[in-house]
Subunit: 332 residues, 4 copies
């Protein structure tokens, strides 16, 4: 299988390194508008080939195109790739709007091509372990999903803090909860360059479940933490912990109604905590293998176009809410 | 000065202990509907006197009444106290509605009586130090105020998690920022007994400032942390730290616009961090002294009726937002 | 059962509170050389009786004497109590020398009296859980026992930092390992008032096991942590953690010798970590019940004279090592 | 300046990378007994040249030799390099014995060659900041230096845990304290392959100062922490902290003697804590520049042969103490 990676910015070199190391990939080619970046990536990976233009990529015999370019280009470049019968892997977020995502999904469907979005976090040992626990119903009914991703992280961005950072957490939520949200509300402020640098995002569901995200480029401390509360157990996923990133608390609340007593009796339950051993494989390597496997063996990738769309649908609605001062925006 | 403390539940005994130990207080009396609780408090504080009814309290020669009773009783009992020319100290939250708060404030004003709300956290060394730093403009313009107060904390409550816990953080915010909020939005869910046990509250201001509160009775870990981001410095107040509760980070973001370059250049600035020494005096003791001082020397207490009203105004609007699925509610 | 508590200093009031609350204890009396302290303790516990002298205690009908007095007085006062046929509970450390401990043990034996030492930590949920795990051989062979107990803790002491703080950790070690040490070495320095304020203590055993203690009154941070390394599992007991004080790591090292290869192959093993739920009963209350039970039902207390002697034997040898610049001192 | 790096094992590639990037270094050559490793390093650094034998290195026109080989080879290979008039940089520990170190020092002196030991930690922003603070006497008299360096770190080693890990901490101590130790004692145990895997090392000084090191390959948690206690301030250097690695506590103990009162009055003093901003330059890069600068501008390197000898002198004495069950070994 032959792959072309387009866009050698911050993340591109990691994609190159991992696809070069992936079995079944026989050739990796690269293209970037900057010849400096192309020289740089060739020095680091002498085995790769270089393309001189995106047209050359499309005209070549590569089986798949990987786009690690600015979000606004995902749709036009991705559409061209699909139209040239290339399988497509897109960096997150998938595209700049729901409409763009849907068009890409439809096009890939029609042409029977694999369309995948690089939601890298979904491939970490931590998230896969949490998904396993939630799916097995060990934690019971999910009560809330609370995510905080903050630190001093602002630099020149063309998108606001939600589009930049929330896709990580939204893709984790989508993968773990596997539930359709019904509405979104978001508030935020901007201080430096006119785009939101601090934002809060609430995602509502039909049932009595809430997901909430605090995303912040202007925080003095680095926090990457997800809490998942369940009726039987509760999970803390602290990505800043060097080890024991996932902790399962055998804690809960029990409500009983005694006859003749009007108010509900509520009791705590506190048991053991445990931190399961996690698979330490590099997430990006597993993602690359997943993509190659989907192409080779013609199955759905783990994070397909629908997964990408689920994230963008929330982001698009969040933008609308932000522009309306926190108004609740229904998802269709 | 003679004081009567009414309501000897969870918090009442702490009030009794501190008023007994306060200079200028010559007599502390107690009343509770439960004679068991009265016996208990007398055993612990042999010097106190007991009342047999609230009427007896009102008819007595006490100068001030302290109400540590359920929120719903603050207004009727408080009103009676003021009408009997007693100075009044109310537990937080001040009352069950804005209208109740305003009536109590007006009544106290008319009768020239001291009306104070026990916002204990305002009297901690940590909060007073933060207020000093913010007021002195060391941190520059305030960008955001982010508060998290969560743990496994549910038991039989008549009010939701916002009314139960948020007054702590709202009173801290009110004291530190000294700014009038313009709107409120809140989302939450309930799982156990029909009242919200997880809630998020956003408080908006005219300027580009946002305050946000995560309040949760169903969390496996205990977090009590406030982040305050400023243009020059940032503050982390972690109440769970045994020492160094307040940390000041000399960190910031600088935006410069270079001629001929369209995009803004954004740069980090990272300097020293320091944790100032904090006064370790018991906050409740300082609060008690503040009340006694206000009565004796006829000045405003630090957390007066207006401070109490500011908190209730936000809570009332938050309830309205909660009942409307997160709708933004304007504050007049 | 009637009990007299002698010495109402820092720890005495806790003993009084717990014995007053212990079933089967019908009367608690107190004595202290300071009438101020006696007045204080009577105010706090109106049900107790006061003694005017130690002679009065001895002449009374109390069944047991509890000594919470300076270490140097344990032997003379304890001996008198035993000679008056009183059961005896001593604060830690048991006495000022091995010889004193042995005499008290012999005297109690001869007169068939209970002799107990208040090694409070042995009664904590954390230490009892660790003992259970080690005894069940879940952690395999014990490789080392490493204890750190440090913070800014110096005030006017008549004993050095080892005699003041190490009894906590030595009694925990004695209870958990149940092994006879063979030698001791200790180094330390003193800076303030001529007695060691920083000390390191190594305790050697016959087998390939070492125990080590870092005890320090001059540290800027508070650390109370014990590591226990085993061939199968390892334990971290962090007493400063508000919850999850005991963590069991399924980690280990495996050595295999392959034929034809001279060097040993060493491999890590890393598995889950778990933090067992701990009993939160107040340790001192359990200790008091243990003493009362031993007296009432004529069995050995959990921390008897031999347990007290084991600790003092190490402390005495450590002093000899300290005075000889760290020389290794054999234990007989 | 031309440099040859010999030994491309675990650390060698880092040396290559840094010397390749150092100004004034015009050529970097490599040699290793394994041609695999040579191929590997050439692929990573295409600009380097390869040597076929150590003799070829010695016969070449390189100005300096860098030895990143097993400790036992430092002396023979280093001696040959000096005899061929090459400046010499040795990995830590400098050599296998005091005698070897002294011979290398003398030889370098005689031939006017630079002899440096790669004590990398000395070049970290953290250690340089601490040295600055201690030298400026801000912390007052140094009371103790306590170091803990532990985790699950055992693999196939030819030296015990002290020779493997303690050079880091001993070189930090040597650099910061700049004091001659007078004696050493060490205890340890071995469980896996016959060499100590857990060890404690005490280093004594003339004055009332002690340094102590806990070094452990069998610990479930990773701790890298140094405490330095002073009469005015205290320092915690926690290398596992992602930021704020160095914290200065304005804490201390004050002893006063009041007339007529025999016992010393001791009081705490607690003030602010601060964490100074640290230089984040890569330590190894600064070390490489230091070596090149010493060669080019004929001055002493920061960590010269004497610094290397100071570390080996303690390790050699520690080995003697270990073999004698913890006996105190005088340093001449």
């Amino acid at each position: 299988m032959k792959i072309a990676i387009v866009g050698i910015g911050y993340w591109g070199p990691n994609l190159v390194r991992n696809f070069v190391a992936t079995d079944e990939v026989t050739s990796v080619g690269c293209f970037d508008l900057s010849s400096e970046r192309l020289k740089f990536i060739k020095r680091r990976n002498p085995s790769i080939t270089l393309f001189n233009s995106y047209d050359e990529v499309l005209a070549s015999d590569v089986d798949a195109v990987v786009l690690s370019t600015p979000v606004s280009t995902h749709y036009p470049l991705g559409k061209m790739a699909l139209e040239h019968d290339k399988h497509l892997l897109l960096e997150k977020p998938m595209a700049a709007s729901v409409r763009e995502c849907e068009e890409l999904i439809n096009l890939a469907d029609k042409r029977n091509l694999v369309l995948m979005v690089d939601h890298t976090f979904v491939f970490t040992g931590a998230v896969r372990k949490i998904e396993e626990i939630v799916k097995s119903n060990l934690i019971g009914d999910v009560y809330y999903f609370d995510s905080v991703r903050i630190n001093l992280g602002l630099f020149q961005h063309d998108v606001n803090v939600l589009w930049d950072l929330a896709p990580h957490d939204l893709s984790i939520m989508d993968y773990i909860l596997q539930r359709k949200p019904t509405a979104v509300s978001s508030v935020g402020v901007h201080h430096i360059n006119g785009i939101e640098d601090v934002a809060y995002l609430a995602v509502h569901f039909d049932s009595n479940l809430i997901a909430h995200f605090h995303i912040n480029w202007l925080a003095p401390v680095k926090i990457r933490r997800i809490l998942i509360g369940g009726s039987k157990q509760m999970i803390v996923y602290d990505d800043m912990e060097p080890s024991e990133k996932v902790r399962i608390y055998d804690k809960g609340v029990e409500a009983t109604t005694q006859e003749g007593i009007y108010s509900t009796l509520v009791q705590y339950r506190t048991g053991d905590m445990y931190a399961p051993k996690l698979d330490n494989s590099e997430a990006l390597s597993l993602m690359a293998q997943d993509f190659v496997g989907a192409v080779q063996r013609k199955h759905k990738p783990t994070t397909d176009g629908d997964a990408g769309l689920n994230v963008v649908r929330i982001l698009e609605a969040a933008d609308r809410s932000l522009r309306n001062g926190g108004k609740v925006v229904k998802l269709l």
